[in-house]
């Protein structure tokens, strides 16, 4: 090849290579520190790759302002190559151009260098994306790992819970929304005689043929399926061997976020023995109370006969002493009567005969029974009876006893010249009666007195068995603390609600909300 041809060849090579090529002279200051470089010659692709035009003869600090600050390493490398003559390669990001370059530098003669470079911004972006993806993947992996640890912990927890559940003395059964058993613990066998594996997959209702009334089941399903609330109640069930047992049942629905029932969790405790013990206790109290009545009859009758002169005339002191015996005997008689009454109320063996009656009549009859005492204390009686009220379906004996307790208490704990107000009105379903919402059409009775009142500290205990407030003890030291307890139980039995407002020293109002149609739920 001739020198011209050779020159043209290299020129063409220089211009057509895909790399950018810049032939530059390095400039140094007096301390031989590189300060700048001048583009002497650049190829065609230089322009395309850098976006810079007409650079030949210009200093880099002019063509790319800020490059000294952004890329001091370029100056270091270029000057080193231009002085030492050893080729180098570097990758660098030129911030003012916002491009990545892969640069090879060699020294054609001292203080000069040639930079051959490629724009690698795209590769860098791909590489960065890849790195990002890798990092993201790593994060996911780490997350997965921590999820795995969490899941393992959860599994450990579940294992613990399952162990606790498996060995619980209370029977635990989990069913799906249709009542098909999914899980049952070991207590199932102890209580029902069925092995858990016998129960799983079967409908709970098929396994336990509980001899309960239809209303019980209606209430049960209504509570857990419609109201989606926990059902708590006693249930009589039959063991595999046919034996009856009583258990305390608690069934709760488990809902998803949308409120759809996923499972039912049923926990049952066999309370047959407790019930038996309770029954034995009740029978003992009943027997003891009846036994006490025989000597009590003798005491009362002989005291009565002596006071009646059957054994001859008594002197004043004898009469006084026998009167004490007689009064004490009567008092004891009342206590025994209360015991027996409470037993019947608590054991639910009260015979109920609800009939529609006019409550005004019952109130009037009851108030008449206290007439002697109200007159003796000169109490002012006020009656507020709403007219033409619906008849109330209730057991006559029970409502009479309830009113008797409330009215006689009002009379007992109100001092002379006080006032007792008895009110009766209707409370339609959903209306608010003295602060309580009536669940169904009801009647509201209130008995207000201007008596000693109930201290706030006593408010929670006022319906408790044998509880007597200090100020009540002062008024009547002989009270037995059973009256309001019995009143509360009797109110429960007739399906009513009882509550009160009271201010110490100012008086008390007892309220009684009674459903017109009587008690609905079965117990």
């Amino acid at each position: 090849m001739s020198p011209q041809a050779s020159g043209a060849f290299y020129k063409s090579l220089f211009d057509h290579t895909f790399d950018g090529i810049a032939y530059c002279q390095m400039l140094f200051d007096k301390q031989r520190n590189p300060v700048d470089f001048v583009y002497i010659k650049t190829n065609k692709n230089f322009e395309r790759l850098t976006g810079l035009t007409n650079v030949e003869g210009k200093k880099v600090t002019e063509t790319i302002p800020g490059i000294k600050e952004s890329n001091p390493e370029l100056f270091t490398v270029y000057s080193r190559v231009s002085l030492a003559g050893k080729s180098e390669r570097l990758e660098t990001y030129i911030a003012p151009l916002a491009r990545w370059f892969l640069i090879s530098v060699y020294c054609p003669k001292k203080k000069f260098f040639v930079a051959i470079f490629q724009n690698i911004t795209e590769q860098k972006r791909i590489e960065k994306d890849f790195q990002d993806a890798k990092r993201a993947a790593q994060n996911v992996l780490e997350d997965l790992n921590s999820e795995k640890i969490k899941a393992e912990n959860l599994a450990q927890d579940l294992k613990k819970f399952k162990l606790a559940l498996d060995n619980s003395s209370e029977q635990v059964v989990i069913t799906d929304a249709e009542g098909t058993v999914m899980y049952a613990n070991a207590a199932l066998e102890k209580i029902t005689g069925y092995k858990p594996e016998e129960a799983v997959g079967k409908k709970s209702g098929v396994l336990w043929k509980a001899p309960m009334p239809l209303e019980y089941y209606q209430k049960f399903w209504h509570t857990i399926k419609d109201e989606k609330k926990a059902f708590v109640g006693e249930i009589k069930n039959r063991r595999k061997n046919g034996e009856l047992y009583t258990s305390m049942l608690n069934v709760s629905p488990v809902l998803d976020d949308a409120g759809t029932i996923l499972f039912f969790v049923g926990v049952e405790r066999d309370i047959t023995r407790e019930k038996d013990a309770d029954k034995a206790k009740s029978e003992f109290i009943s027997l003891a109370s009846h036994q006490m009545r025989t000597p009590l009859t003798a005491i009362n009758w002989y005291a009565e006969m002596l006071l009646g002169g059957d054994a001859g005339k008594l002197n004043a002191k004898q009469r006084d002493y026998f009167k004490e015996i007689y009064t004490a005997g009567q008092h004891m008689n009342e206590i025994v009567k209360s015991f027996l009454h409470i037993l019947r109320l608590e054991t639910g063996t009260v015979v109920m005969n609800p009939i529609p009656l006019d409550l005004v009549d019952v109130i009037r009859v009851t108030m008449k029974e206290s007439q002697l005492d109200t007159e003796k204390k000169r109490l002012h009686i006020v009656e507020h009876f709403q007219e033409s009220l619906s008849p109330l379906k209730i057991d006559t004996e029970l409502i009479h006893l309830i009113l008797q307790n409330l009215i006689s208490n009002a009379v007992k704990y109100t001092s002379e010249n006080g006032e007792i107000t008895v009110s009766l009105g209707s409370a339609a379903q959903g209306s608010i009666a003295a602060g309580k919402t009536a669940d169904e059409d009801s009647l509201l009775v209130s008995v207000r007195d201007t008596g000693i009142g109930i201290t706030p500290a006593d408010h929670d205990k006022i319906f408790t068995k044998f509880y007597r407030t200090e100020n009540a003890k002062k008024v009547d030291p002989n009270g037995n603390g059973l009256g309001l307890y019995m009143t509360k139980i009797m109110t429960d039995i007739v399906g009513g609600i009882i509550w009160f407002d009271s201010e110490e020293g100012a008086g008390t109002t007892f309220y009684l909300l009674l459903p017109i149609e009587g008690k609905k739920t079965v117990h």
């Binding site: 036994q291 009545r293 006969m305």
Partner: protein, 138 residues
């Protein structure tokens, strides 16, 4: 009205003190009083003496009051319709008593502690249609 002395009353009661009190009060009222301390001898005395009225306790040894009443009511000629007053420590509102009352039909059911002894005497005289003698001077 009848005179008290024509009337025989049988008391069947195992508690000595109660028996003694009733005996004293009814004798004082002028009635002829027969006593039995358990259901078994009460039944025998009743069938033999045919009293006009029987005061009958329930909880007693050998034979309880309900069993005695049951056997008494089996006697077609006399026992079926004789006046029987149950006088007991039990209450009439207990399930078991309610069943017995419905089944055996005593003339009256009295819980001892609900009554004064004078009240029991009044009730017996009323049922026998006998006028009450004046109370003794005290």
């Amino acid at each position: 009205m009848n005179t008290a002395s024509e009337k025989k009353v049988l008391i069947v009661e195992d508690d000595e003190a109660v028996l003694k009190a009733l005996n004293a009060k009814l004798t004082q009222a002028g009635l002829a009083v027969l006593l039995a301390r358990d259901g078994s001898s009460g039944l025998a005395t009743a069938l033999q003496e045919h009293p006009q009225l029987i005061l009958l306790d329930i909880l007693m040894p050998l034979m309880d009051g309900w069993e005695m009443l049951k056997r008494l009511r089996e006697d077609e000629n006399w026992g079926k319709q004789v006046s029987v007053v149950i006088l007991t420590s039990l209450s009439a509102d207990e399930d078991a008593q309610i069943r017995h009352i419905a089944e055996l039909g005593p003339t009256l059911f009295m819980t001892k502690t609900d009554w004064k002894v004078e009240g029991v005497v009044d009730k017996v005289l009323e049922m026998l249609d006998v006028e009450k003698p004046p109370a003794p001077a005290v």
